[in-house]
């Protein structure tokens, strides 16, 4: 049923997804090096925003645990980098983040609304503090140096994870579990009473999306080259993907990607031009997005498109009426 639904309803996406992945694969070879480096940041946030949207988008359960799950991946890579190849580290980072998400899910997914948000944020802070304590008291260090990988390797690996996130997000949106997640977001009680095992579905989706976050962390550790808890578990990794996804719009798969591109470009511009106030401006952007763009740019564009279409139809009706009057006058 999934395949037939996609073939019938989503032909443009079947072209757009492979084209965008191929275009991104060739992008570093045709754009200046500075933009190529920015593309790494774009891909990192794109994966985080897409994976956050997989669970939080349809269900409305806003998770702020992203920094914790990403940071766990970073630390897996930092600890094991000298012993294992990066491809294996990615898989381990994803698995550890996923297991952690399963535990968080079991504890928190019965919570609702603001309690869930606070709990996930608290869990991310708890992981950060625990790692900081462990590093200081057990290993006697603050941070770790990580053997780096080349930008080309990092970009390629992130692109592969991005492709998985994009295709996974697309399939989820068109599958029965995707529809059930939407049902949970709209009315959890009703979803439960039509046979949806809501706890299982929520926990598994949360764990699967968290695996992508951990994998991304494992790759990014080789780009950071030096990690400590304040870098790996930076709360911005929790907040920015949420703002980016909401700015772009959650109703479409490409919404978060639009938000990511705009905010990464804005962030880099602000860091370069206004390094001391960029966080302030970012904060104001968050407030503006939540207040005036709850449906994101996708919804805004759709609304504008409908308005323009109505105006266009009205104009054509006026022209037709005018022509008829003129023809009648001639007669």
């Amino acid at each position: 049923m999934l395949i037939s639904t996609i073939l019938r309803e989503e032909k443009p996406a079947l072209v757009a997804i492979p084209v965008s992945i191929v275009a991104l694969a060739f992008a570093p070879s045709v754009v200046p090096e500075s933009i190529g480096i920015s593309l790494i940041t774009v891909l990192m946030f794109a994966i985080l925003a897409l994976s956050w949207t997989m669970f939080s988008g349809p269900t409305g359960f806003v998770s702020l645990a992203t920094a914790g799950l990403f940071g766990v991946g970073v630390y897996v890579s930092a600890i094991l980098r000298d012993f294992l190849p990066i491809e294996v580290l990615i898989l381990i980072g994803g698995a550890v983040a996923s297991l952690l998400a399963l535990a968080i899910g079991m504890l928190t997914l019965r919570l609702k609304g603001v309690y869930f948000i606070l709990f996930t944020f608290g869990v991310a802070s708890l992981i950060r503090s625990s790692v900081a304590w462990w590093e200081t008291n057990v290993n006697g260090t603050v941070g770790r140096h990580v053997s780096g990988a080349s930008n080309e390797v990092i970009y390629l690996l992130l692109l592969i994870i991005f492709a998985v996130a994009l295709v996974g997000g697309f399939l989820l949106r068109h599958s029965s579990p995707g529809l059930a997640l939407q049902a949970i977001g709209e009315n959890q009680e009703a979803a439960e009473h039509i046979g949806v095992n809501i706890t299982k579905l929520k926990v598994l989706t949360f764990a699967a999306s968290s695996a992508l976050m951990g994998m991304t962390g494992a790759v990014m550790a080789t780009r950071f080259r030096y990690v400590d808890p304040s870098i790996a578990f930076n709360p911005l990794f929790s907040f920015l993907p949420v703002v980016m996804a909401i700015l772009g719009g959650l109703s479409r798969l490409y919404g978060p990607l639009i938000g990511v591109t705009i905010l990464v470009v804005l962030q880099e511009f602000l860091i370069r031009e206004y390094p001391y106030v960029y966080l302030l401006i970012f904060g104001l952007t968050l407030v503006a997005v939540v207040l005036w763009l709850p449906g994101g740019l996708v919804e805004l564009t759709q609304r504008l498109y409908i308005r323009l279409k109505i105006q266009w139809i009205k104009m054509r009706m006026r022209i037709t009426r005018f022509r008829r009057i003129r023809q009648a006058d001639r007669r």
Binding site: M1, S4, T5, R8, S176, L179, A180, Q182, A183, E186, N187, E189, A190, A191, E192, H193, I194, G195, V196, N197, I198
Partner: protein, 242 residues
């Protein structure tokens, strides 16, 4: 055959005993009405049977199987479906998608092809007389349409027993007659129905048996004719002197 058996069930909300030692049964193919003044514990009983609330004392069986400790999704998959006092539909989806989702999750052992699912959803929507609304968003449906859609969605879970929580509230007299007809049709096709209702015309018109609750306690049980003349019920509804 007994479809549902509620035995000595009690439930407290803090110091308030919402349901007190309630026992009753529903036979297969019966329409049983659950009535009582506001606060009588009717919806709490529905919530206990459907798994939305945890049973603190007593037991509930469905076709002889103990469902007392099961979750709502497990109970739903065992053939007991319910509607809500104020319809709880997925408003961002179309009417068709609401029923399709219930069809898929209510029948996990079956894999529907797209065509099979569409045919089945269309059949269920036609049963409730809302096939022409299939592509409408839920928010665009009138109240009666929402009530029918909620019943169609409950039926899609392959239900053998339906619990209808005030499905006739707020309907016009014409709509009321229509929904009463459709509920009777469902029973004629073998469906067992337990319904909470305040519309006495409907309760008296379609129910085989009526159970009356007051302050969480069952005070009477009988046919509509017996309940209509029961002095205890009359006292509860009309005052002690009546």
């Amino acid at each position: 055959m007994t479809m549902l058996e509620v035995s000595r069930v009690s439930h407290r909300f803090g110091g308030l005993k919402a349901v007190d030692n309630a026992s009753f049964g529903v036979e297969q193919g019966e329409i049983v009405g659950l009535i009582g003044p506001n606060g009588a514990g009717k919806t709490t009983i529905f919530n206990l049977i459907s798994g939305a609330l945890e049973v603190q004392e007593g037991s509930i069986t469905l076709r002889g199987e103990d469902i007392t400790r099961l979750r709502p999704d497990q109970i739903s998959r065992r053939g007991l479906a319910r509607t809500f006092q104020s319809p709880k539909l997925f408003t961002g989806m179309s009417a068709f998608e609401n029923v399709r989702l219930a069809l898929i999750y209510g029948n996990p052992e079956r894999r529907f092809s797209h065509e099979e699912a569409e045919r089945e959803v269309n059949r269920l929507m036609a049963t409730m007389g809302i096939l022409s609304d299939r592509n409408k968003r839920v928010r665009d449906l009138p109240l009666a349409g929402r009530r029918y859609l909620e019943i169609a969605r409950a039926l899609a879970t392959n239900a053998e027993m339906l619990m209808l929580d005030e499905s006739m509230a707020g309907l016009t007299s014409r709509e009321l007659k229509q929904i009463m007809g459709r509920i009777t049709d469902l029973r004629n096709r073998g469906m067992t129905i337990l319904m909470i209702e305040h519309v006495m015309e409907a309760i008296m018109g379609v129910c085989d048996r009526i159970i009356v609750f007051h302050f969480g306690t069952k005070i009477s049980e009988g046919t509509p004719a017996e309940i209509a003349v029961d002095p205890v019920v009359r006292a509860v509804y009309l005052g002690a002197d009546s």
